[in-house]
Each structure stands twice: as structure tokens, then as C-alpha cells.
């Protein structure tokens, strides 16, 4: 059956059905709902959804939404304003109805015509939105609204259900009726003809869904050819510190049309196509061979060749860190979008993706065995093989196979040293090429020992607590990479300000001003990055007889994570493990004696984290060291209490004090006020 026949059929069905049967009807709230002032299922919530009903009917090119919301606080009134964005020309938002019901049962209908506003427009594409605000809303009101979205006959659409919302949902019903050819098995009169193709020209023959549903909830199918999900008591979107990417924890269900139906068939087929595209782009052409010949020597070891080529592509203009040329600019400059690795090499410029593929081509041209691996950026999401979409993978890396080892390389990550990867690409899942074809792949986790920050300081004190001094902050691994990448976007003066604000203000004690004087090795990713910092200000507290100082100079006033969060629902994601090692020498005023120093300590969370502190007293000096090693990246909720216990001990240790007794000559008179 051709598309036109199918659409005619759809139009007839649409004409035969009354819209009344397609949308939920407004309903009278119960007395209990009207009088409700808080919700025991959602303590403290500003609003709750009593009901959500989303129905999508693709043959009829139609979606409807119905919502009933209880406003519990002033902030909850924000739910009264509803924005419905849509793509102009393709979609139409229609039949908007709404009303507000006061706690006394008074009903105020929506009578103001919704406004149609432009959200954004570029070229031919324009996003508009319908906006309406329900009238006379007060705390305690029940808000109720519904609307329809219709779309063009030559459009196919499949819903994506965001089952978890900003506010608690008591009850929700989601329903999707696809074209009959995509209906659940067993649906009578299933048509088989359609003409949908994907980007590779394959006939799209399957409706696929991916879901993360609450425990015990399953999608239902019906004999009339629809899919549905009914849920109750859905908690609000979680908000905890150090959560995994939010995309990876929410309850959702996505439908989409594809050319394969199950993971067993999808990924091999999709992986094969992806790999073919990679190999085509990364073909070691003559120009690539020539370039490689000029960059390497035949006598170089495999690793030397790989490093020389890596440094060469790292030196190119990576437009993800500089500026992507616009279409008009490329036209004017007669530059074409890179279709092959040699284009990127010729332009000496490309995206992270282009540069990674160029590197792959060069390795291959050098006669090395190298493969592409494509993963999910862990800052954005986690790979889910059940989610049958290649687009979830967004970062390309390279695996070099040499000497029996598989070495992960991240050439698209500017300033990333050879054989290192950004944390966003570590322990990240996706697809990888290999000798046996394409398979699921996961990149190695970073070692905490490779991400080290050392803070070494000399602090000179007088009897009033006035300090001067300097610290050197030496960074390797991810922190160095972070600041080197920032340096690509800002000049030196601006970078210093940002380092002052984002790093130093957080770690130096209150009363002490710390400013970067200069950086060392900012542009050399193979050397430790150092920030040389000057200190000035007042430290600790001076009493008439004593000087009381923070035992540990760094981070005594900063927020220690997890200490105040008793319960944990979601896993902990630290992004990467690291070691932070401090060593500060206090140079004391003459005649000072020590009454108390921080206790040496060794606090551990076995196999996960360790804090070691140590003090050494010498004439006129006290040297205090502290090393915090966080050797874990993830922790499950059931490990949380151990994790929290460790950080509570860390927080307590941070508060150790150094007590000095001043020389009698320095004890005269009150201090501080007259400064």
C-alpha cells in the first residue's frame, strides 16, 4: 500500500471519530482533593500532579495531553502558566481548554485566548509556542487543562514519555497508537506496507521502544493496536549532589521507528554501518600517507610513531575549542565540510570527531593497528544497549593495538596527553571496532594516581595572625587538562581571575587573599601544570596570649560533600578518582611555643578512600601535611553510609586547630580592632 492510500485511510478514520473520545474530560475534584493543603506522599511539595493523560495517535496525526494539578504553595502557582512549543508549519496546537478550581469548588474557566509567540527562528525553521495562564490561581487551587497537537499528513511521529516530572505524580496514563503496520503483534488487520526509510535508505519496518520504568510497571498492548503505560505515585525528579547524569536515572519511555527490532539484530547491523562510515572517512589515502611519512621515521617504534602523529593532530585547530566556521564563512573561504580524513588534514582544522578520525587514518597509514571506539560522554549520559539508537554515542576515541596492548587515545580532546583520556570518556560504554568486527566496548577507568594535585605552601605569620606567603599548586591529570582547556578560551589575565575565583577562593581560609601570580607549563600537556600563588591577609584568631590557626591550611571552610545528606537514593558519581596532597609549612613568629598541633591521623574507607595527616614541628616552623586519596569513581546507594562516614571524619579532621602561645613580648595589648 502506498503512503497516499494509507494517509487517505487515516483521514477517513479521523473524520469518523469525534474528538470527544480522544481527550480526557475535565472532572470534578473530590472534596479531599479540594481541601488538601499538603500531600503525605510528597512532603513539602509545591504542587503535585493528580493526573496526567497523554495520548498519541500517529495514524490520525494527533496527540492530546490532559493534566490536573494541585497547587500546594505560592511557588506551586507557577504551574498555572503553560507553554506549548511547536515547530511552525508542521505542527498545530489546538483545542486548548483550561480551568481553575478553588478549594471552595468555585470554577473559573480559561477565557483568555492563548498567545502565539515566536521562540526562535533560523532560516526556514521556526519554533513557536502557545502560552496561556490559568486564571485566578491561589494556593489550594486545582488546575486542569488539555490541548491537542496535530501534525502534517506527511509526518510520522512517535512519543517520548517523560514519566518522571518536577513534581510528584499520583496517576498517569500514556497511550500510543502507531500505524497499523507497527501495531503490537496479534493486532488484527495489520497492514504491512509503508514507505519509511532511514538515513541509510533501509526500509523502516519496526516500532521500537526503550524504557526505564518504575519497579513493577510494564507497558501493555491492546488488541486495538495501541501501547499504554499506567503508573501511580511517581516521585519527583531526584536532586542529589554527585549524581550520575540525570538522563541516566529518570523514568522514561521512548518510541521510535527503526530498521531493526531487537538488540540482537540492531547493534550488529548499526555497528557495521557505523564502522563502514568510519573506515571510509579514515581511509589512509595517499595524502595521509604522505603526511605520515613526513611526520614519522621508519625507525620509530610503534609507540613513537603513534605519539608523533598524536601530537601532530593535537596541534591542529580543534573547532570545538576555538570556533566552528559558519556555513557562509566556509562558502566564502571555499572550504568544504570534511568528508575524509585528508580534508581535515588539508584544512588543518576540524571538530573533535574529525580530528579523532584523522588520527585513526594516520595510524593506519603508518601501518599500525588502530580502531575507532564511539562512546557516550559520561558528563551527559550512560550507554544503554537496550536503547537502540546510535545517536546516544557522541564521542569518538581511538584504540591502538600494539605489543599485545590496547591503548586508549583521545585525540579529539585538546591538550590531553598521549595515552590519557578525559574523564568524560573513561569507563564509558559504546561500540568499538576490533579485529573481529564491531562489538560493545567500554573504555578503561582512570586511575586515581594519575590525577594528582599537590599544594605546597610556605606561610609566614606574625604575632597578630597577619600572613604572607606563597603556594604552588601542581596539577597532573584531569585538573590540569581542565585548566589547559580553559586557557584555550580565555587569555592569561582572564584565566588567572577565573582560577582565583573557582579554585583559590574555595580552598584558602577566610581572611586570606590568594591570587595567581603566574602559571607554568600551561601549554605543555606533558609537564605538570603549576599555578604559583601569592598569599596575604589574616589567618586564624589572635587572643591576648595565643594565636589559634586552622591546622590544615586548605579547604577548612569549604563544603565537604555528603556530610549533611543522610539518605541517598541514586548512586554517587565522582567523575574520576584523584589524590590531593597538601604540605604547608607555617613559619612562626619569634618566641612562639606550640600548645597544640593537629593529631596525625590515618582515616580510611577500605578499598575506596584514605585520608592521611601528619605534622612535624621544628624550631620556628610547623609543617603539616594531608593527603586525601579518593580511589573510587562510583558508589552504590547501599555503600552510601560507609562513604558518608568517611567524609564526616574528613570534615572533622579538617577542623583541627594549631594553638600557639605567643612570646611574652608579643602578648601586650588587645589586637585586631585597631588595624
Amino acid at each position: 500500500m502506498s503512503k497516499s492510500i494509507l494517509l487517505r485511510g487515516a483521514a477517513l478514520i479521523f473524520a469518523a471519530l469525534s474528538p470527544v473520545v480522544l481527550c480526557a474530560q475535565f472532572q470534578q475534584p473530590s472534596e479531599e482533593e479540594l481541601k488538601m493543603t499538603s500531600d503525605p506522599k510528597a512532603p513539602g511539595a509545591d504542587a503535585v500532579y493528580f493526573e496526567i493523560n497523554e495520548v498519541a495517535d500517529d495514524p490520525m496525526h494527533y496527540q492530546s495531553t490532559y493534566a490536573r494539578i494541585k497547587v500546594l504553595t505560592e511557588k506551586g502557582k507557577e504551574r498555572a502558566t503553560v507553554e506549548l512549543p511547536y515547530l511552525k508549519g508542521t505542527y498545530k496546537v489546538a483545542d486548548i481548554k483550561g480551568r481553575t478550581i478553588h478549594p471552595d469548588g468555585t470554577i473559573i474557566p480559561l477565557t483568555v485566548k492563548p498567545e502565539d509567540l515566536m521562540v526562535a527562528k533560523t532560516g526556514e525553521r521556526q519554533i513557536e509556542k502557545k502560552v496561556f495562564s490559568l486564571p485566578s490561581v491561589e494556593v489550594g487551587s486545582v488546575l486542569e487543562y488539555s490541548y491537542h497537537i496535530r501534525y502534517d499528513d506527511d509526518e510520522y511521529s512517535s512519543p517520548e514519555w517523560e514519566i518522571q516530572r518536577k513534581y510528584f505524580v499520583h496517576k498517569a496514563h500514556y497511550q500510543f497508537t502507531p500505524f497499523k503496520s507497527f501495531a503490537p503483534e496479534g493486532t488484527p488487520d495489520t497492514a504491512t506496507s509503508r514507505y519509511l526509510v532511514d538515513e541509510y535508505g533501509r526500509t523502516v519496518n519496526s516500532l521500537i521502544w526503550w524504557n526505564r520504568l518504575p519497579p513493577g510497571v510494564k507497558m501493555q498492548t491492546s488488541v486495538n493496536g495501541s501501547y499504554s503505560v499506567d503508573v501511580t505515585d511517581i516521585p519527583a525528579i531526584p536532586d542529589e549532589e554527585y549524581m550520575p547524569p540525570i538522563e541516566s536515572v529518570l523514568y522514561r519511555l521512548f518510541f521510535y521507528y527503526k530498521a531493526a527490532s531487537d538488540p540482537g539484530k540492531f547493534w550488529p547491523a548499526e555497528g557495521k554501518l557505523w564502522s563502514k562510515d568510519v573506515d571510509k572517512f579514515a581511509e589512509p589515502s595517499k595524502k595521509i600517507h604522505d603526511a605520515v611519512g613526513g611526520l614519522t621515521a621508519p625507525t620509530d617504534s610503534d609507540l613513537d610513531k603513534a605519539k608523533k602523529l598524536y601530537d601532530a593532530v593535537e596541534a591542529l585547530d580543534n573547532t570545538d575549542y576555538s570556533r566552528k566556521k559558519s556555513e557562509s564563512e566556509m562558502k566564502e573561504l571555499k572550504i568544504k565540510e570534511a568528508k575524509h580524513a585528508e580534508d581535515t588534514w588539508a584544512q588543518k582544522s576540524g571538530s573533535s570527531e574529525d580530528i579523532a578520525m584523522l588520527y585513526l587514518a594516520m595510524l593506519r597509514a603508518a601501518g599500525l593497528t588502530a580502531y575507532a571506539v564511539k562512546v557516550v560522554d559520561r558528563d551527559r549520559g550512560l550507554f544503554d544497549p537496550q536503547y537502540l539508537r546510535l545517536h546516544q554515542l557522541d564521542s569518538t576515541l581511538v584504540i591502538l593495538s600494539t605489543g599485545g596492548k590496547q591503548i586508549l587515545l583521545d585525540p579529539g580532546e585538546k591538550m590531553c596527553p598521549f595515552q590519557t583520556a578525559s574523564w568524560r570518556h573513561s569507563d564509558a560504554g559504546g561500540l568499538g571496532q576490533g579485529a573481529d568486527g564491531v562489538s560493545f566496548s567500554i573504555t578503561p577507568m582512570l586511575q586515581y594516581k594519575d590525577n594528582v594535585t599537590q599544594r605546597l605552601g610556605d606561610v609566614y605569620l606574625d604575632a597578630h595572625g597577619e600572613v604572607t606567603g606563597h603556594i604552588n599548586i601542581v596539577m597532573t591529570g584531569q585538573r590540569a587538562l581542565h585548566w589547559r582547556q580553559r586557557a584555550l578560551e580565555e587569555d592569561d589575565a582572564e584565566l588567572k581571575k577565573q582560577f582565583d575565583r573557582e579554585e583559590l577562593e574555595r580552598i584558602v581560609p577566610t581572611g586570606v587573599e590568594a591570587h595567581v601570580d603566574h602559571f607554568l607549563s600551561m601549554n605543555d600537556p606533558y609537564t605538570n601544570l603549576m599555578a604559583v600563588v601569592n598569599l596575604k591577609g589574616t589567618l586564624g584568631t589572635a587572643t591576648p596570649k595565643r594565636l589559634i590557626l586552622p591546622g590544615f591550611f586548605f579547604e577548612t571552610s569549604s563544603h565537604v560533600p555528603f556530610v549533611n545528606e543522610e539518605k541517598r537514593l541514586e548512586p554517587v558519581d565522582m567523575h574520576y578518582g584523584e589524590r590531593v596532597s597538601d604540605d604547608v609549612t607555617y613559619h612562626l613568629p619569634d618566641g612562639t611555643t606550640t600548645e597544640g598541633v593537629p593529631q596525625d591521623a590515618n582515616i580510611g574507607w577500605p578499598a575506596h578512600a584514605l585520608l592521611v595527616t601528619k605534622s612535624v614541628t621544628r624550631p620556628g616552623q610547623i609543617e603539616i601535611g594531608q593527603t586525601l586519596s579518593v580511589a573510587f569513581t562510583f558508589a552504590k546507594p547501599d555503600e552510601y553510609q560507609d562513604l558518608r562516614g568517611f567524609y564526616q571524619k574528613v570534615a572533622a579532621a579538617d577542623q583541627e586547630q594549631l594553638v600557639l602561645t605567643l612570646a611574652p613580648s608579643a602578648q601586650a595589648g588587645p589586637v585586631g580592632v585597631a588595624h
Binding site: 503512503k3 532560516g123 557562509s328 581572611g511 597544640g596 572533622a652 594553638v659
Partner: protein, 670 residues
């Protein structure tokens, strides 16, 4: 023909549309490239002045031509050229043009002239149109066309030319003479119709005379204006309150002299809102019902203002002149929503219904932006001036001011849902406003309230054990403007956010905090205090050092507002804003009692602190009596800002507060 698979989730499209569209290129450039015009080439030749410092970009040219026709309708052409000096300077090359249904954008062209002289013309795909505001409660038909210029690399000069038909009902423009980066050449040219007249006013810039370049063509030219960069300064007035600008007015509003210009603006506003506040029968009835039985004017005002604050939700879709003109009171009352003009309109209406006169008062949400010597429409907020009868002395009606015509006016912001009638929040105190009162329209300075208009009385009772654990309860009683702030916090934050906020604040003083709970006590009456009870414990509050136990008697609370550059004794040019978060006068007191562990005596206490200045005072003391250590302090602020010349006094005050807040008591085991 094959069908398209549409984007599967419509809402997801719009959630990220603005950012996504700016970077997307799905429409081919249509125009044929044109060479850069001579003015752009000339501008690009302007050398970068030696004194630009570490500016990230420099504006080489900003030239306006405003052409006014016989109907006083104006067309504005702008030519702009900026040289990018650093990567972060690219943001200044993103030219934009504002337009609306009644503000037509005629054209928008741009050329980039690279450091090597190569030219690139921006094409369709380099522009994006985006909504102007896009807040849930503030929507508008107004839009911006934004350029992401090609070739915008350091060294390049980006030039832009736009032409816009200004709104037909507007007859003035504010010319921003200063920017966060330096200007080299800038000009404003006004082409008036025959017999047309104009007025100009200047803020933070010495007035200059225009050149008459032709009949009725006036041109003001300025060169080498330094950047106004406040990025690394703290506690300054807002940027807009310090930046140089000129306002030019044409047509009937172009009166000579500041007073006459303010009067003309007030008359224009009056005319715009004429009859908008007329009460409907429903409004009359509601107002009468609200004030029934009220014993005095304060009670009447309180009931009506509370009604507006509690029942009229902030929501507006601004369409064209709707940015200036309110809805009719009857519509606002029926829908129970509106913006600041609408809330003022309904308030004026309800007050009119009970025989009290009130006026529109145009203000800016940031103090100092409205300059009494530079009449303009630069305000961005509408509030209400309520006329008090002669002899009305109710001490609760604090925020009153005497107008030039002798009327006593009570200032009130109906959009501020937390501040009771009689008070105004810090941002408005001491700021200028424009009163719309017919021929008596004028610029009006709003009052700085006395210190007792805001207060916090904090009391804490704690027990310390020998292992260093401190446990106890704190009671905070907030009054006046401070109570309004707390109410705002309660309204804005959900339960988790509220607890997190309190916990975060407490844990900065109690690092090993065990936050046992809190209770807010408040009534619906906005003029009543808000009480907050906190229950805390800190297992490592006091620290043992040999036989000593060290603790800070100032358990919680933070009165210090150190301004880093002032504390470092750097020269101060701008006034210093003072008065805690909220920037207002007040009186804040702490009193803590700490019961000591058995066997310990006080060996040392911090010295008392006493500082008095004309703008603030601070007194604290720590005393020991029996087994109780007592700490108390009183911080009183009388102003909202102090001149730069008083930086030394400010430094002395802040040093003393900082010293006191860190002060430690030493306990010794007997």
C-alpha cells in the same frame, strides 16, 4: 517521495531551541556576497588605542542616525564596528537588533574584516531570531535578531549596520555612551523635521553641544570613552547606575530643563494609563468589603495592599505598547494576574474606590539608575505612590516622602508580595523615581528607612561537653524588611531547598553540623515578625589542645561584609553599598549562652569590640559568669551606601567585625 520521520518529541525541540538554533545551519545562504561599505572599511582602519588595558575588545565606531518625520515617527540606523582583541572578546561582536510587531527591522547587515583585510559578509544562516525574555511569567512579542558573525577571531573587526522603525508612540532614546570595553569613536545624529525640536540630558558625562551638520541635523560626537569595568569590584552600585549615557527626546516631550522633562514624562504616562484604573462595580464592591470595619487608614491600606499581594499573580504577555500601558483594572481583577503596571493599576483602582488617591510611580529595580539630572524612561518597574491625608502620623507608614507640591506620599510596591504597606525593600530605598501626577509630575527621591525598619534578634542557648560537642537551640526573630526577605525565601524554596539553604548557612559556622530540625512561625499578616527556631549540634565544635579547649563564642551568624579591594586598601572610586543582603538599614543582634563542661574554667575571652561611625556601629562582648560563657553583639546600619571617601572608616568597621567573628575563647581544665 518518501515520508519524513519527524522529531519525535515536540517539547524536547523547544527546550533547547534557542541555543541549538544559533548553531544550526539548515538553510542555505541566499544572498550574493556584497563588498563591505566604505564606512566599515574606514572603521576597520582605526588603530587600537594604546590605553585599552586588558580589554577583550574595543568598539571602534558606534554611530546612530535618528531620522524623525513630521508625525514624530523615527527611524534609527546604527553603524557599529568592534575589534576583537581576545577570544573572550567575541561576545561583543554578536550584534543584535531588537524588533517587535510595531518596531520594524528594515535591515541588518554585517561584514567581518579579518586582520589580513579579508572580508566576510554575514548571510542568512549567521542570524537567528529569538524571543526577548522567555521567562515563564514574563513573555513578549518582542524579539531579537542576533548575529553570530563569520570570522570572529581575535584581530578581526566585525561591523554591523541595522535600521529600525522605532515604536510610533515613543519619542526618546537612551544613548549608552559607555560600555564594559572602551569606545574610540561614537556619535548620535538627530535629523528633525522642519520646525522640530529636541531636548538632551546627560548622566555621568559632562554635556556637550551638538554640531549642526545641516538644517535640523544635530550631531553629538564623542571619542575615547574608557571602559566601565566593575567585574572585579564589589559592593558597587549597579553598572547601569554608573555608566555614562545621554537621553535625547524629540516632539512634544522635548521640554527644556530637567523639571519640565520629568513633568512631560509624567504627563505622557498619565495619558497612557488614563481610565485604566477606573473601578468596575466588582472592584468597588471588593474594596468596600475589604475595608469594612477598618479602624484606621493603615488597616484599610493594609487590607487592600495585602489583597493585591496575595491574589494577583505576576504574569504578563507583553505585546507592543503593552510594555508601557497597563490592562484595564476590571480585566486584571477578573484574571487575577498581571505585571507591575497592572498591579499598580488595580491598587490605584481599589484605593480610588475607598476615596484614597494614588499615582503611578516609575522606578528602576536597581538603585541609582534613574538620575534626577537626566530625565528619561530608563526605569523598568512601576510601583505606587499613595497620597496620605494631611496630619496622618501613623508610625507604621514609614516609607513616606514629601512631594514638591506638598503632598505626602507613601511609597509601596504591589509587585513585592512580602513587604507590608508602610515599608519598601532595600533596592528602592534612596533611589529616584518619576511620579505621574499630571502637571505636578516630578522626579522624587524615595526615602531611606530608619534602622528599626529591619531587624533580626537572634538568641541561642547551648551546652558544650568536654569532647567538644556543642548542642543547642537558636531562635531568630525577623522583623520589618528582614521578615519580608524571610517570607520571600519561604515562598521561593521548596522544603528540600529550604533545608539545604539553612543547613548550608549553618554549616559554614558549624562544620560538623548535625542539623536536627527547624520550624518557621509566621502569620499571614505581613507586618508581623517571622520566627525561625533552629536545633543544632556539632560534634567537633570545640577543639582540645592539651589541657585547653578552644571555641568561638560567636556560634553562628555573619555580619561581616568585607569588600576585598577596600580591605586591601586599594583606592576606591565608587560608593560602597552596605546593609547586609538586601542592602538596607537595620539593627541585628545576637545573644548566645554556652554552658561549659564540668571542670573547665575560662582562661581567655576575646576582647570587646566597639566601633561607631556615622553610617554604622558595631558592639560586641564576651563574658563569663559561673559556668556560662555569654556572647552578645549589636550591628546597626543607618545608610544604604556610603561615599568612596569613607572607605577607611568602612575598612575599620569591617576589620573589627571580622576580628570579632573569629574571636576564640580558651577554656582550661581545672
Amino acid at each position: 517521495m518518501q515520508a519524513r520521520i519527524s522529531m519525535s518529541r515536540i517539547l524536547a525541540v523547544a527546550g533547547c531551541c534557542s541555543a541549538a538554533l544559533l548553531g544550526s545551519h539548515f538553510a542555505a545562504a541566499k544572498e550574493k556576497s556584497q563588498p563591505a561599505p566604505q564606512w566599515a572599511l574606514d572603521a576597520a582602519k582605526t588603530p587600537t588605542p594604546a590605553n585599552v588595558g586588558d580589554a577583550s575588545a574595543v568598539i571602534l565606531l558606534d554611530d546612530y542616525l535618528i531620522t524623525v518625520d513630521e508625525q514624530n515617527h523615527a527611524v534609527e540606523r546604527e553603524r557599529y564596528a568592534v575589534r576583537i582583541l581576545k577570544p573572550q572578546g567575541r561576545e561583543y561582536s554578536h550584534c543584535e537588533a531588537e524588533y517587535d510587531n510595531d518596531e520594524k527591522l528594515d535591515y541588518f547587515h554585517s561584514w567581518t574584516i579579518a586582520a589580513d583585510g579579508h572580508q566576510l559578509q554575514a548571510m542568512d544562516t549567521d542570524f537567528a531570531d529569538v524571543e526577548a525574555y522567555g521567562y515563564a511569567d514574563l513573555q513578549a512579542t518582542e524579539r531579537f535578531r542576533i548575529l553570530k558573525p563569520p570570522g570572529s577571531d581575535p584581530g578581526a573587526v566585525v561591523t554591523c549596520e541595522t535600521e529600525v522603525h522605532l515604536r510610533p508612540y515613543m519619542s526618546s532614546e537612551d544613548w549608552q555612551i559607555q560600555a564594559p570595553i572602551p569606545f574610540v569613536d561614537e556619535a548620535l545624529e538627530l535629523a528633525l523635521p522642519s520646525g522640530g525640536h529636541y531636548a538632551d540630558s546627560w548622566s555621568h558625562y559632562a554635556p556637550i553641544k551638538p554640531l549642526e551638520t545641516a538644517d535640523n541635523h544635530l550631531r553629538w560626537e564623542i571619542t575615547n570613552v574608557p571602559a566601565l569595568d566593575l567585574e572585579n569590584l564589589h559592593a558597587t552600585p549597579p553598572w547601569e547606575a554608573l555608566a555614562a549615557r545621554m537621553t535625547v527626546t524629540w516632539g512634544d516631550q522635548a521640554a527644556k530643563g530637567a523639571d519640565n522633562q520629568w513633568r512631560a514624562i509624567g504627563l505622557w504616562m498619565d495619558q497612557l494609563e488614563a481610565h485604566r484604573p477606573d473601578p468596575t462595580p466588582e472592584i468597588n464592591a471588593e474594596a468596600q468589603q475589604l475595608v469594612a470595619g477598618a479602624p484606621d487608614l493603615y488597616t484599610k491600606l493594609s487590607r487592600i495592599t495585602s489583597y493585591i499581594q496575595n491574589n494577583i499573580r505576576y504574569f504578563i504577555i507583553v505585546k507592543g505598547i503593552g510594555g508601557w500601558q497597563a490592562h484595564y483594572a476590571g480585566d486584571i481583577y477578573r484574571n487575577r494576574y498581571g505585571d507591575c503596571k497592572d498591579k499598580t493599576t488595580l491598587l490605584i483602582s481599589m484605593l480610588q474606590a475607598i476615596g484614597v488617591r494614588a499615582y503611578y510611580l516609575h522606578v528602576n529595580s536597581e538603585r541609582g539608575v534613574i538620575d534626577p539630572s537626566a530625565p528619561s524612561l530608563i526605569g523598568n518597574h512601576m510601583i505606587t505612590a499613595i497620597e496620605l491625608p494631611d496630619g496622618e502620623k501613623d508610625p507604621r507608614l514609614v516609607a513616606r516622602v514629601k512631594a514638591a507640591n506638598g503632598k505626602t506620599l507613601l511609597i509601596f510596591d504591589p509587585t513585592d508580595e512580602e513587604t507590608p504597606v508602610g515599608l519598601i525593600r532595600g533596592e528602592l530605598q534612596g533611589a529616584y523615581s518619576n511620579l505621574a501626577d499630571g502637571a505636578d509630575s516630578q522626579v522624587l527621591k524615595m526615602p531611606v528607612l530608619p534602622p528599626d525598619s529591619a531587624s533580626l534578634n537572634r538568641k541561642g542557648s547551648f551546652t558544650l561537653t568536654a569532647d567538644g560537642t556543642l548542642s543547642g537551640d537558636i531562635t531568630d526573630v525577623f522583623s520589618g524588611v528582614d521578615a519580608a526577605r524571610e517570607r520571600g525565601l519561604l515562598k521561593e524554596a521548596d522544603t528540600k531547598e529550604l533545608r539545604d539553604t539553612l543547613e548550608h548557612s549553618l554549616s559554614s559556622d558549624l562544620p560538623s553540623l548535625d542539623f536536627k530540625g527547624y520550624e518557621f512561625h509566621k502569620t499571614d499578616a505581613l507586618d508581623q515578625p517571622v520566627t525561625l527556631d533552629l536545633h543544632v549540634s556539632d560534634s567537633r565544635y570545640a577543639h582540645a589542645a592539651g589541657p585547653l579547649l578552644l571555641l568561638r563564642p560567636r556560634i553562628v551568624g555573619d555580619d561581616a561584609e568585607p569588600v576585598p579591594e577596600v580591605m586591601e586598601n586599594k583606592t576606591r572610586t565608587y560608593p560602597i553599598e552596605i546593609g547586609r543582603p538586601g542592602n538596607h538599614p537595620g539593627d541585628w543582634r545576637d545573644s548566645f549562652d554556652i554552658t561549659l563542661p564540668p571542670g573547665y574554667v575560662v582562661d581567655e575571652t576575646p576582647d570587646p569590640v566597639d566601633v561607631d561611625t556615622d553610617f554604622a556601629s558595631y558592639h560586641s562582648s564576651t563574658t563569663a559568669k559561673g559556668n556560662v560563657l555569654h556572647y552578645e553583639r549589636d550591628y546597626l546600619v543607618r545608610q544604604v551606601e556610603i561615599p568612596a571617601e569613607k572607605a577607611a572608616d568602612f575598612r575599620k568597621l569591617e576589620s573589627a567585625i571580622l576580628f570579632d567573628e573569629k574571636g576564640a575563647a580558651v577554656l582550661k581544665k581545672q
